[in-house]
Amino acid sequence: MRILGISAFYHDSAAALVIDGKIVAAAQEERFTRRKHDPGFPGSAIRYCLEEAGIGASALDHVVFYEKPFLKFERLLETYLAFAPRGFRSFRTAIPVWLKEKLFQKSVLRNHLRAIDDAVDWEARLLFADHHQSHAASAFFASPFTESAILTLDGVGEWTTTSAGFGRDNTLDLRREINFPHSIGLLYSAFTYYTGFKVNSGEYKVMGLAPYGEPKYAKLILEHLVDLKDDGSFRLDLGYFDYCTGLTMTNSRFDDLFGGRPRDPSELLEQRHMDLAASVQHVTEEIVLRLTRSLAREGLSKNLCPAGGVALNCVANGKVLRDGQFEKIWIQPAAGDAGGAVGAALAAYHQFAGKPRIPAAGDAMAGSYLGPAFAPSEIESRLRAAGAVFTELDDDAIISDTVEALIAEKAVGWFQGRMEFGPRALGARSILGDPRSPTMQSSLNLRVKFRESFRPFAPAVLREDVADWFELDEDSPYMLLVADVLGKRRLPADPRNETLFGIERLNIARSDIPAVTHVDYSARVQTVHADTNQRFHDLLTAFKAATGCPVLVNTSFNVRGEPIVCTPEDAFRCFMGSDIEVLVVGNCFLKKEDQSPTLKLDYKNRFELD
């Protein structure tokens, strides 16, 4: 049975193909259109999925959309009705879009699908899954567990913002839910907006900013904004928010409570913004911990599968793991809306078609390497056509030369095998660096990625060595768990640094691997496994043999505002537009100094800032 899952029309459109219960291919549309968080119909991603499987569109048994448009419209209508006459401006903006297109999503989908193959009876094959059912299915059905507790948390789908339940074999039972407008995701987004970042994309920046601050406002948030119960259920005081009726997240009462208007993105970050970030992060962790503890008290399972955008909050995930209520946690790597495409397809296979489920060893995401790969001959011809000058090396030399470049503190673009599905680069489309270098973090942030200097980088570490460097001895293949750098790897605190605050603390080396150690000694760990990414594992092994350190800086292969690179040409353009010094594409090795200066690009101003 061949099932295509689609998520689209909000943000992060994606397509995924499931054949007989196996995820064969999955990709986000942004990687093909080169438009970050592209919300459009994922036509290119669908074409790629079909091509990867070597089938035509007519071979599909079902196409499943990841949410139910009528239910979403019902929520919209009832919300406007509940707040009327307030909210007319928002109504005037939203309703025409719905009446023109979104309400008729079935026919819109049908028309787009006809452009792929107009001989297929799409009407008969189209199915719709619930938004949170898609999230829950993407988490549980793709997990290695036969049974598990499930927790989905995001901004909002149709009505649900939080759901909890249980999965066994090929069944899902979401038994409790919290509905819009009470949403932990929207609370986090409100502070994302208030601290001057973009909603739906800047949330991870707030998480990265939090360790620079103190949770001074947490009490204020819990006293005024959130009525939080012992079991983790909560209600927001909507008097402080504008998202139900207005075009912004927060209102003037919110400003009064936190002592000022929202930060303009062009304004400098101050200590107050860092304290606000720390506060909302603290409250989020408290809510998530109460929810997971109450789920654990039900005693249904020792496993947990979180999903939804809030499950990308790896700091909260790390705390849930260390809380010890669940023995095993598996987090869907594409926990946001893109992953809804995978979940919708899996839900149709197991729940709609009633097909049995055999949990995959490890998990069903295959390291999340579900995107396009390029054959060696194709890489060469594409690079040559782009004007690149490169040397073709054998398998051993490509590893040894890359290690040499890394030891020389060069920023290395690393393009190997199938592209990752989900927001993280996991060693297939990555920029790598030496984590021992004290200047690597600011150099990568400012010269290579053109992004804010406060942003931390993540370590990729050999799975077998993770416990020797971090306070973690679990698999974390998708960079979704945060753990502290081990005490023995930390450097003694310098009393002169005690007086520093905020971003000034960034440039102080605090461990043997300063480039990946955040100001609170935390790190967003990716464990690298030989069975899912042999070449990346080989590289880390060789780096360890040369330096004694089995860790590399791993950041996504893109500049700020650019989608992660997909093709060898994308990689070469990004290489020529930034200060990446070495590019490794398959077995092709490129040095910046060998390239024609005429091919240099202005990448810094090319993409709209995220």
């Binding site: 009528f70 239910l71 009705l81 005037r92 719905w98 009446l99 008729f104 079935k106 026919s107």
Partner: protein, 49 residues
């Protein structure tokens, strides 16, 4: 037509028949918003009510 059938099936499944008149008014007003792009709506509402 199939759209209206599906919409009605949805309303019946959700048992939200009270949404029908609201939906009808909103569809008319929303349609007007599209046609007039909002600017000519106020006088029209005035004559209606």
């Amino acid at each position: 037509m199939s759209f209206l059938q599906e919409l009605f099936a949805f309303i019946r499944a959700r048992r939200k028949f009270w949404l029908i008149p609201i939906l009808a008014v909103m569809l008319v007003l929303g349609g007007l918003l599209i046609v007039t792009k909002g600017s000519a709506l106020a006088p029209f509402i005035y004559t209606l009510f």
